[in-house]
C-alpha cells in the first residue's frame, strides 16, 4: 500500500535522531523546527528517479488531447488533463497524499487540511484536494514544509479525538490511526480537556460515537449527494461543531450503510458488527451479492465458519464502491433458520431427519412413478446457473420440460436476450438524459441502479418520468400515470411527455420485471417497444430499452432457457421440485402432489414440502450468476456449508444417479462444459455479453393490454428472499425504517 511506503519513509529520519528525544518534553523532528532553512539547505532532487506507478491504479482519460498540462510532482513530470486537482495529479504520479475529507466520488470540501503539500512559489502550503493543478506547477510532497504542515494538522485533529482505539471498531482499518502513525508527531501539546459530543441515533444499522468525529463531512456529503436523503448536517460552530440531524431522525436511506465505509474514523461504525470481531482476524473472500439482480461486488469477511460482515468491492461498471443496506446487512440471515439435515415429513406432519441415501431414494422413487407431464421443477431466486442447468437436465431426462425460475412469470420469453436484460448497461445510464420508468421502483428493486439514475439526474439534469403506483423517489420525477393507458397514450404520441423523449439525445426506458407476472405482459412489452421505436430509443449507437430484473437468478435462468412447456403445469403436478423457490404460488397444487424442497433456509417453500434437501447458500458455494445487465460473475465460497448441506448441483447430480438417469458431469468444470453448449456467455466471467438482436425481429403480438394499474414488485425492500427474511437485522430495519 502506498501509505505504508510513505509511513516508512516518514519514520526513517526518526530512527537516526533519537539522541535528543529524552531531554525534550515536546518533540518535533529537528529539521522541522526551521522548515524553511532546511528546505533551502536541501540538495535539488536527483534527476534519475525510478518510475512510480499511479496510486490504486489511478487512470487518466484525456477527453481533449490539447487540454493536457504538465506538472511536476517531486520532480517527476506528469501529464494530466486540465481541471484535475493537485491531489489527483499526485495520485497519477504515484504519490499517495494523506486525506480525510477528500473522497473521489463526493464533492470537494477541503476542510480537513490533511492533504497540504508545498507548491513552488506559493507562500504557504496548499490544500491539494481543492487546488486545481496549473501548467508547470512544481508540487513537492516530501519536503520539510509539507511534513511539518501535516504534522501540525494531525496534532490539531488529534486534539479532540479520544484515545479509545482499543475499544473502537474502526481500529486496524482507521484512516486516522494509519495516518497519525505515518505523518503525526509522537506526542501532542494539548493539555486541556477534550470535548465530548452526544451520540446520535441513526437507526439500527449505523452506530455513532460522535466524540470520535473529526468533522470531515464525508457522511453529510454522501447523504446529500449519493443517497439523496438530506438528513445529516453540520451543526454548531467552532469547537462545538458536530454532525447530526438536529431533530431526532433515523437515516432512512437504502444506502445508509455506506457512511460506515466512508467515515475515516470510528465515528460511524456498523451497529450489527459492533464489538464482534477485529478486522485483522477476518478472512476476506471476494464474491458477489445475490439479494438483488444487480450483482454488486462484495467482500465477505468471515471468521472460521461464520460470516462476520459484508463490505463492498470496487466495480465501476456495477456498484462503483457502494452497496445497498440489504446487501451489507443480510448476513445474519445466513446463520438463522438454516436447513442442515435431509428431512422427510412423517404421516403426522412432522419432519424427521434422515440420511442423504434414504432421502434421495424416496425422491427418486416418487419421481419415477410420476408421469413426465406431472413433473414440475422451479428454481429459486437465489439459484446459480450450474444448479439450474442440472435441474433442467434432470427434468428433461425424466421427460418433463416444465422447469422455470420464479419471478419470470408463467410464460417467460427467453428467445430474445434483449427482451430481459439491461441493454444500456448500468454504467451506460450515466449518458442518458431522459428516463422513462415503467412499472419499476428502482429504489427498492435495485438500489444500485437507482443510485446511478440519481447520479445522472444530478450530473446531467436528466428528466425522470414514472408510470406505476405512487412511490418514493430520491430525485425529481414526473408521475405520468399508474397503468397501461398511459403507455397507450405514449405509444400513440398523445402524451405531453412524448416531446421530451423524442427530443432527448439518449433516452432510456426501463421496464420493471414485476410486469413479467402479468397476463398481458406480451402486449405491454409490444407497446413499450412501439414507444421505443416511435421515439428512436434504439439506434445503432445507443440502446435505451431496458428490463430491470428483480432476482439474481433470473437472467441466468432465461439464458439457460428455463421456460415452462405449459402455463398451468402446477395445477396437474404430482411431483414438484422446488430448488430454493419460496415465492411460487402453490395454492392450486393438488393435495396429493409430492413436493421436494431443496434449499438453505426453512422459509415459505418448506411449509408445503414433503421432503427437505439441505443446500448451501451463496456464501458457501461457487456459482455463476448473471446480473440484470447481462454481466456474468461468480461467487466464491467464504465459509463452509452448514451441517449436512451440499451444493445444489451436487444434490441433483446425486439424485440423477439414484434415479438411474445419471447426468454426464460430476464436477463444476463438467457442468460448465455443458453450460457452454447452452449459453456460452455464462462462462465469460466478469464480462458483459450484449444482446445480439433487438426487439425488431420479434413476431407481431395480437393481445390487448389490461387496464389494471401496475403493482409494485417489491413490498418490503429489506425482505425479499429467504436469506433476508431470516435476518434479524433486516426485520429491525423493516420495523423501524419502513414506518411512515
Amino acid at each position: 500500500m502506498g501509505l505504508g511506503l510513505l509511513a516508512s519513509r516518514a519514520m526513517r529520519p526518526l530512527r537516526n535522531s533519537h539522541s535528543s528525544v529524552f531531554l525534550r518534553t515536546i518533540v518535533s523532528k529537528p529539521e522541522l523546527q526551521s522548515a524553511e532553512s532546511s528546505a533551502a539547505a536541501q540538495a535539488p532532487p536527483e534527476p534519475d528517479l525510478p518510475p512510480r506507478t499511479p496510486v490504486g491504479g489511478a487512470r487518466i482519460h484525456f477527453p481533449n488531447p490539447e487540454d493536457a498540462i504538465e506538472v511536476f510532482v517531486d520532480g517527476y513530470p506528469v501529464k494530466i488533463p486540465k481541471g484535475m486537482t493537485v491531489l489527483q495529479a499526485c495520485e497519477v504520479a504515484g504519490v499517495d497524499i494523506p486525506r480525510f475529507c477528500y473522497h473521489s466520488r463526493l464533492s470537494i470540501a477541503g476542510n480537513c487540511r490533511m492533504c497540504l503539500v508545498e507548491v513552488e512559489k506559493s507562500p504557504k502550503p496548499v490544500a491539494s484536494c481543492a487546488m486545481p493543478a496549473l501548467p508547470g506547477m512544481k508540487i513537492k510532497t516530501d519536503t520539510p514544509v509539507a511534513k511539518k504542515a501535516r504534522e501540525g494538522v494531525m496534532e490539531f485533529l488529534l486534539m479532540n479525538h479520544p484515545l479509545d482505539c482499543p475499544i473502537c471498531d474502526q481500529g486496524g482499518e482507521c484512516d486516522l490511526q494509519d495516518q497519525s502513525m505515518a505523518f503525526g508527531s509522537d506526542r501532542g501539546r494539548f493539555t486541556e480537556m477534550k470535548r465530548s459530543v452526544v451520540d446520535k441515533n441513526l437507526g439500527p444499522l449505523v452506530k455513532t460515537v460522535m466524540t470520535r468525529c473529526i468533522q470531515c463531512t464525508r457522511c453529510v456529503r454522501f447523504a446529500t449527494e449519493v443517497a439523496g436523503v438530506q438528513d445529516l448536517g453540520m451543526l454548531g460552530r467552532g469547537s462545538g461543531e458536530e454532525i447530526g440531524t438536529y431533530v431526532e431522525k433515523l437515516m432512512t436511506s437504502e444506502l445508509s450503510g455506506n457512511v460506515i465505509d466512508i467515515c475515516p474514523v470510528g465515528a460511524l461504525t456498523s451497529k450489527p458488527f459492533a464489538f464482534k470481531a477485529r478486522n485483522w482476524e477476518l478472512k476476506g473472500t471476494e464474491t458477489i451479492d445475490v439479494t438483488d439482480a444487480v450483482g454488486s461486488n462484495i467482500r465477505i469477511d468471515s471468521r472460521g465458519p461464520e460470516v462476520m460482515r459484508i463490505v463492498p468491492r470496487l466495480n465501476e461498471d456495477i456498484n462503483e464502491e457502494w452497496i445497498s443496506d440489504k446487501t451489507r446487512f443480510c448476513y445474519d440471515g445466513l446463520k438463522r433458520q438454516r436447513l442442515n439435515d435431509p428431512m422427510i415429513r412423517d404421516a403426522d406432519g412432522r419432519f424427521k431427519a434422515v440420511t442423504w441415501r434414504d432421502a434421495l431414494a424416496v425422491v427418486a422413487e416418487v419421481a419415477l412413478q410420476a408421469k413426465p407431464e406431472e413433473i414440475v421443477g422451479i428454481a429459486g431466486r437465489l439459484s446459480d446457473a450450474e444448479s439450474m442447468m442440472a435441474l433442467k437436465d434432470l427434468l428433461n431426462r425424466m421427460g418433463s420440460n416444465n422447469v422455470w425460475c420464479e419471478g419470470t412469470g408463467t410464460q417467460p420469453s427467453a428467445d430474445l436476450r434483449s427482451g430481459y436484460i439491461m441493454n444500456t448497461t448500468i454504467s451506460g445510464l450515466e449518458k442518458a438524459d431522459v428516463f422513462l420508468l415503467i412499472g419499476t421502483q428502482p429504489r427498492v428493486e435495485a438500489a444500485m441502479v437507482n443510485a446511478r439514475i440519481r447520479k445522472t439526474v444530478r450530473a446531467n439534469n436528466a428528466k425522470v418520468a414514472y408510470i406505476g403506483p405512487a412511490t418514493d423517489f430520491n430525485y425529481d420525477h414526473q408521475h405520468l400515470g399508474t397503468g397501461p393507458e398511459t403507455l397507450t397514450e405514449l405509444a400513440e404520441g398523445r402524451h405531453p411527455f412524448c416531446s421530451a423523449i423524442s427530443n432527448a439525445k439518449n433516452p432510456v426506458i426501463i421496464v420493471g420485471a414485476g410486469l413479467f407476472e402479468r397476463e398481458d405482459k406480451d402486449a405491454i412489452f409490444a407497446t413499450v417497444e412501439a414507444i421505443a421505436k416511435k421515439h428512436n430509443v434504439i439506434r445503432p449507437d445507443w440502446n435505451g430499452l431496458n428490463v430491470l430484473l428483480l432476482n439474481a437468478a433470473q437472467a441466468a435462468a432465461l439464458d439457460l432457457g428455463l421456460v415452462p412447456e405449459s402455463t398451468n403445469s402446477i395445477e396437474s403436478a404430482k411431483f414438484v421440485y422446488l430448488m430454493g423457490a419460496d415465492d411460487v404460488n402453490l395454492d392450486k397444487l393438488p393435495n396429493d402432489a409430492f413436493v421436494v424442497y431443496q434449499g438453505h433456509h426453512g422459509d415459505r417453500g418448506v411449509y408445503r414440502a414433503n421432503i427437505i434437501l439441505p443446500a448451501s447458500a451463496f456464501s458457501e458455494k461457487e456459482g455463476t450468476y448473471v446480473n440484470t445487465e447481462g454481466c456474468t460473475q461468480q461467487t466464491l465460497p467464504a465459509v463452509p456449508t452448514v451441517g449436512d448441506a451440499r451444493d445444489d448441483w451436487k444434490i441433483i447430480r446425486a439424485l440423477s444417479e439414484v434415479a438411474g438417469l445419471t447426468l454426464p458431469y460430476d464436477s463444476v468444470g463438467g457442468i460448465r462444459t455443458r453450460i457452454r453448449t447452452v449459453a456460452p456467455n455464462l462462462l465469460n466471467v466478469d464480462e458483459r455479453e450484449p444482446a445480439t438482436f433487438g426487439p425488431s425481429v420479434k413476431p407481431e403480438v395480437t393481445g390487448k393490454m389490461d387496464t389494471t394499474p401496475f403493482k409494485s414488485a417489491v413490498e418490503n425492500f429489506y425482505m425479499t428472499d429467504s436469506i433476508t427474511r431470516a435476518s434479524k437485522i433486516m426485520a429491525q430495519c423493516s420495523a423501524m425504517l419502513l414506518k411512515k
Partner: protein
C-alpha cells in the same frame, strides 16, 4: 536537570486538573440538537404572519430565483422577530419550505449563528459583550450585576418572561466599552429594535432594566452623561483646531 523536567511535567499535569468546569463558553442559547418540548416541536403549526408574508416576498426579491436559499438568514431573522425572539423547530421548517431546501440546511445555519436563539428568551434579550476590550473594562461585573438583579442564570428567562441575559461577541463599540445590547422583541417584528447601550456600569444596567420594565424609552448610545457619542469625556482634548490640510493638497501653496 531531571528535577526541572519533573517539575515541568508536574505543572502540565496540574494544569489539566485546574480546568474551569465550563471548558468551552457557549454563546448559543441552546444545544446543538433539538429536544421536543410542548412549546417547541415539529408538529406545532407555524406560519409567517400576514404582514410578514409581504416582507418575505420583499426579501426573496433581493435574490435570483434560482438562489432562493440565500435568503435564509434574513428570513430566519424575520421569523425570530415574529416569534418573540426565538426560533422553534417549526419556524425553521417554515423557512426551509419558503426557500425550498431541506430543513437540515436551515438548522445548520441557525445553529451556526449565536444570534439565532433556539430556546425561549425574554421580551427584552440583554446581550453583554464579552470580547476583550469590554471584558477589560468590566463586562463580567456587568453581567453579574444583571444576573443578580434579575435572579436568573445566563440564557435563562425571568419568571415574568420579560428578560433574559446572554453573551455575545464584539459589536465594534470598543471605544465605549463596556456595552450591552437590548434586543426588544416586545412588539413583534414591527416594533423590533436592537439598541446598543454603551459606557454602562453595574449600577446603570440595573437602571436600564428597570426603565425597560416600566416601558420607558431611553436613548441608546453612551450612558455616560459627560460623553457625546464616542467623543472623550468632558469634550475634546486634542485636535481642537481645524485640522491642517496636508501640504500636497494645498493648491494655493503650489
Amino acid at each position: 536537570m531531571l528535577a526541572r523536567l519533573a517539575a515541568k511535567r508536574l505543572l502540565e499535569i496540574r494544569q489539566v486538573f485546574r480546568q474551569s468546569p465550563q471548558a468551552s463558553r457557549s454563546f448559543s442559547t441552546a444545544l446543538n440538537y433539538h429536544i421536543d418540548s410542548p412549546d417547541n416541536n415539529p408538529d406545532l403549526p407555524w406560519e409567517f404572519s400576514e404582514g410578514n408574508k409581504a416582507k418575505v416576498k420583499e426579501i426573496l426579491s433581493h435574490y435570483p430565483s434560482n438562489y432562493k436559499q440565500s435568503a435564509v438568514i434574513p428570513l430566519l431573522d424575520l421569523a425570530q422577530q415574529q416569534h418573540g425572539g426565538w426560533l422553534p423547530v417549526s419556524a425553521m421548517n417554515a423557512v426551509a419550505k419558503v426557500i425550498d431546501v431541506a430543513p437540515i440546511r436551515v438548522y445548520e445555519v441557525s445553529t451556526f449563528y449565536s444570534m439565532f436563539n433556539r430556546s425561549k428568551v425574554g421580551k427584552y434579550h440583554l446581550l453583554v459583550c464579552g470580547t476583550t476590550p469590554c471584558m477589560i473594562r468590566g463586562s463580567r461585573e456587568i453581567e453579574d450585576a444583571l444576573l443578580k438583579h434579575l435572579g436568573v442564570k445566563r440564557n435563562e428567562v425571568t419568571k415574568d418572561g420579560l428578560f433574559s441575559v446572554g453573551e455575545m461577541e464584539c459589536m465594534g463599540c470598543c471605544v465605549n466599552a463596556p456595552m450591552i445590547t437590548v434586543a426588544d422583541y416586545s412588539n413583534g417584528s414591527e416594533g423590533y429594535t436592537y439598541n446598543y447601550y454603551e459606557d454602562v456600569t453595574p449600577k446603570r444596567v440595573v437602571e436600564i432594566v428597570e426603565m425597560l420594565r416600566r416601558g420607558e424609552k431611553l436613548p441608546p448610545g453612551t450612558q455616560n452623561p459627560h460623553r457625546i457619542k464616542c467623543g472623550p469625556e468632558g469634550g475634546n482634548t486634542t485636535l481642537l483646531s481645524e485640522p491642517k490640510p496636508p501640504s500636497c493638497r494645498d493648491l494655493d501653496a503650489c
